[in-house]
Symmetry: D2
Subunit: 390 residues, 4 copies
């Protein structure tokens, strides 16, 4: 069963989607909806869009949901939609982290597919329970580590898997931002508020919010597994309750080494996610803010710029490419690719078949890996940088 980004609605019509969270004022909910719409594979038909009933209702109306499918709670939505003849087949969970587990549980146990924002949960205990549920449920679990959907990330992964870099030696990952340079949470700004709150975010601040993205991407592209890490988490802004800067040294199985830097207090950086991987034969360099470009540096030859859709881009990138080279695709397209692959898998599931090997969306195991990374960073940092095995 082939897959192709930009492929539009197929037999059986659009997939009926619900959403938990994402009411007015939220950021990531709108992103999920745009991503779900772009390729025409999903139709949003139900929502528990806010824990505030008024806001939930208003948000549902603005989105054109039928009033009787705007719910006051995810539990209510799960229960009723599961009984409807045309109830939702999948749900997007876009709440703060601490709600991922309780929400996902209600849908998974009723066989409704879950598309969940990262990190997996706010605690390791929740993560393990969720993993257990996901394994026994017949439903799919998709984790939106969205950067894996960028075509040139697929290209990089394919090149490394094909041995074009030789044995990997070095993985340098970074994700600097600047939006928490000052104590924004003190202003009540919604995003800053929950992301710096241990109750809702978990034990990791910057490390959970963006460090996991960089870590996930490093593993996704390199194909390596982290063996142990030494971390230094810092909170620079006075009064902040979670880390806002993350430094990690990494030892991968097989001998590769790496460093990871994530920060939310580096002025001038917006979403500076960057990955550089070097092997015995060559290297690859990629930056999220110029995602259509991939530098390939074969040792002893001039550097080559591989572009999305251009000469040198292979099948893996091609499958998730929507427009020709030189017309930039961005964040929403990459995000939509996760939805596109989820749709593909859901249609395969409808037919009782597995999806093909080219479907690469992150799932529960990537979620657990991310939680283990956060946990190890927190423990290493508390132990003055002691190496922690994963």
């Amino acid at each position: 069963m082939a897959i192709e980004a930009g492929q539009e609605t197929q037999g059986g019509g659009r997939i009926r989607l619900g959403m938990v969270g994402g009411g007015e004022g939220a950021f990531i909910g709108g992103v999920h909806r745009m991503a779900a719409r772009l390729d025409g594979q999903f139709e949003l038909v139900a929502g528990a869009l806010s824990s505030d009933p008024e806001r939930a209702k208003a948000s549902a109306a603005a989105l054109g949901l039928a009033p009787d499918r705007s719910y006051g709670s995810f539990a209510e939505m799960a229960k009723r939609e599961a009984r409807l003849k045309d109830g939702i087949e999948a749900v997007a969970i876009v709440t703060p982290n601490h709600m991922h587990y309780p929400a996902a549980r209600e849908f998974l146990k009723r066989g409704i597919h879950v598309i969940c924002d990262k990190p997996l949960t706010s605690t390791m205990a929740d993560a393990k329970k969720l993993a257990g549920l996901a394994q026994t449920s017949g439903a799919l679990f998709v984790l939106t580590h969205n950067y894996t959907g960028y075509p040139m990330i697929r290209q990089a992964r394919e090149m490394i898997a094909a041995g074009e870099l030789g044995t990997i030696r070095l993985v340098q990952a970074e994700y600097p931002q600047d939006w928490l340079t000052e104590r924004l949470e003190a202003s009540g700004q919604k995003q800053a508020d929950w992301r710096t709150d241990p109750q809702r975010s978990g034990a990791g601040g910057c490390v959970g919010d963006i460090g996991t993205h960089a870590y996930n991407l490093a593993c996704f592209v390199s194909g390596l597994e982290l063996e142990e890490l030494s971390a230094e988490l810092t909170t620079f802004v006075e009064g902040r309750r979670l880390d806002d800067n993350v430094q990690v040294m990494m030892r991968f199985r097989g001998g590769a080494r790496g460093m990871l830097w994530a920060s939310q207090v580096a002025p001038g950086n917006e979403n500076g996610l960057r990955l550089r991987i070097y092997g015995e034969k060559g290297g690859l360099e990629w930056e999220q803010e110029q995602p259509n470009h991939l530098w390939f540096t074969p040792f002893g030859e001039p550097k080559r710029l591989i572009t999305r859709g251009g000469a040198g881009a292979g099948a893996a990138a091609g499958r998730v490419t929507r427009v020709p080279a030189g017309h930039p695709e961005g964040y929403l397209e990459g995000f939509a690719t996760i939805y596109q692959e989820a749709a593909h898998a859901i249609r395969a599931a409808r037919a009782g078949k597995p999806s093909g090997p080219e479907v690469l969306y992150p799932g529960i195991s990537e979620g657990l890996a991310g939680m283990a990374f956060i946990d190890a960073c927190v423990r290493s940092s508390r132990a003055n940088g002691r190496w922690i095995a994963l």
Copy 2:
């Protein structure tokens, strides 16, 4: 009536859309559909997707159109949809240029809004007839000069209008590509085939296909009007019937000068649309392949990089911005902004109101200007570069 990109379906539900052209194998049809879906404002419900009946039917089925709303011709579609209670309110015309006029005519005269690909038509005569129709029809006419939808283009336009560059002196526009470096049309490649065919494309090849984009953008951003031009059109590839390289010198009303270069035979260039505008007090520089960045160069001060969503971006860019700074928006988002603004205007029209001044989609006058530009370039070039007044 405020407008905001990313704003999702509003009162009255999605706008019912038809499409002419855009069947399997086409390029721009899929782009229009993604753009129409992104913000959830449109629902594709009918199509005359191909002049080949088999392909039309197959394409419609793949897109999930009801069989009775897949038509064999645009004329049939216009006639029947106009009579349906829930017939289409708008149509996207995504055919080769020579079909723009006959197709648009059928819909405009029935009061169905038209969203049409550029250039306006294949001949000046058609352009004038279409303009006449558009002025008398109650329906809206939207021309997808999509690059005007990029947020940083809106930013640049706003800054110039506010006088931040002082009186404009120079407009340097360019749009190099490389896809026609060899005689691709000889291979039967669909895009190359019609774009190099005077019958379907019109008298301009490269100048009509991308020269008009650069010209449109230069005028949109600078606010200037072209007074006269001197052009050199060249066909480098043997056997090609239209120009594949365009050089233009430009004199604008008020004394500004400019140059425009468009090429389809410049190896290494994908969609290198670039605009540089300089005034007495400062300059602006922008490149389509890095559309989230705008350089502002106030004379005597360090250059500043204004980013989409970042500090320094104003209201005009903000209205058409979907995701925060550092998460790149690209071609589809810019294209979708034209659809978003069309939707806004259509909803205003439903309510019998004009859309607000912040709605900036190109229309019939920009279409006529583009046709005049093509015509003047062709005439000047034939007259050995004689200056031609516009």
Copy 3:
């Protein structure tokens, strides 16, 4: 006789150099001296550094010249040095343009080699007389079109000569600056003063000062000859007596086309000399402000970045490279290469031999070509852009 940049003093000791112009407050004189010193091939021993006797004396003292070799005029210097046993072997002429001819004459006719700043002269008549003199004199004439000394420019030239781009179709040259955005000459600033004065600069302002550099470089690299041009010279700043913006359309022998833009009123541009050349098989792109990089764009393959000293750089670049890849060489090194090649030729001349074919400094014919370019631009612009044959 091999040549290599960075090669230091050879048999016979340093070449004794004099200088005309370049006293305190001048710009280009100091550049020539640094260039002459870098490789240790020259020793400045005499000067007529200023027409102002006090300034001449003070400048000579600051440079450590013997008092009796600081002259009040170039004529006096030429006469006396020619008679000295250890008199100068070469002279650098770094005055405003109108003095190039009278100064060069005095030295050439006495068999003293001349290294002269560009453009050749301030009038075509002077240029022709100088060319006549240079042809009959036994002395060498070197014109410091210094950009030809950049290693990646040599690389580009070599690649084109070797056919790596196929037949050349397009030459896009530009050289924007911003330093004359306002009427700087009104402030008495020395550089602005003479460069905007027709008496000292000649009939071309911007076209003579930097347009000729861009033109020289385009021909040097492409190997093409200009057949005819159509130009538009503009003076944007009120009260200025010469052009400050230059637009040129170019037709080369053999069918290639090109455009050239030079400006001194483009805010944010420092020395934005840029060359892009495209052929049937590929292209090359280079920018003076990042001179160690050369983009090579073979059609249908990923772009490659060739770096000075890196893989992919060939013999022509290697000969003029001083330090390894990644340690940037700049303007002075490129300039010094002209001096290095002049030294090489002078040493060959001492031995009564011609210098080898790898010595590529510009000379009298490049000087005449530059003067013809200025003249044609001025005439074409006055004739409303009429095509002028060269």
Copy 4:
């Protein structure tokens, strides 16, 4: 006593310079000579250019040294030159690291100024002895941490000292190269040979060769002092005897944090020295391969590009700037600035005066700091990354 790059020979004539090492086939010797010549402040008059007598003699002849001032050993040179009336005033030591101390000792104890390549020595014991000598000798000791001579590095240092970034939080330094990706030393390549040999290089390979440069620059610019570090040194290439990759986590006095990565096995990197420093109010970013640019990122404002010689560049950069903005200065110019400042200090010493506070060349204390850094990295790495205080 003011200083200015590009300032040429002053009263008292050129400074007489000797050189130890730097014979044919060496790399850094030629660099020192070009740097010494550029501003006309030095004259190379003596040398012990090689431990191989034949090569020493041939090299001296090629450089035009008088035969009786080409020595077979540095000891002989020091002894004899000290007795000559016009003997050398300063000596450049450009040997492998293990010879720095024995050579410097001979000159310092005779009051001859020393300009020495980095790192200071090959062992900590030698470093301490050298420091003792330098403190008691009346002669100056200059260490060529040449990157401190780049104008935009001076600019960055000045801005931080002036508080434009507020309290510094983060220092991210890196210096990737690729030239030792394969086992180049096995080929006998001279540079690779001694740099990977513990006897000649010292206990640090990559960390000593380039890690110290990055560390030196980080401290020079930030004004911070390192408190403790945790390091991981790796040798990727089989058979190599010293580290070829360096990862360091850094804690600075006052609470700033940092990371440092240096590598000689990162394909595609030439001399990728890069420094990013962030404070409470803004950040600065600089890359050695584009040294004329400095990004300034005040929090909450658009990024600004400060260029060498351009608007926004201050007095500290101006003092070491030779040519106007847009004409790139590179590695040799930065290196020459160390020589220029050494000359300034030597002339001041001639006059019995101290040099002014604007003379910033690195000296013995920077040398000791570098040795302590190498030592701490080696010890931390051997102790599995234990934090080591400096």
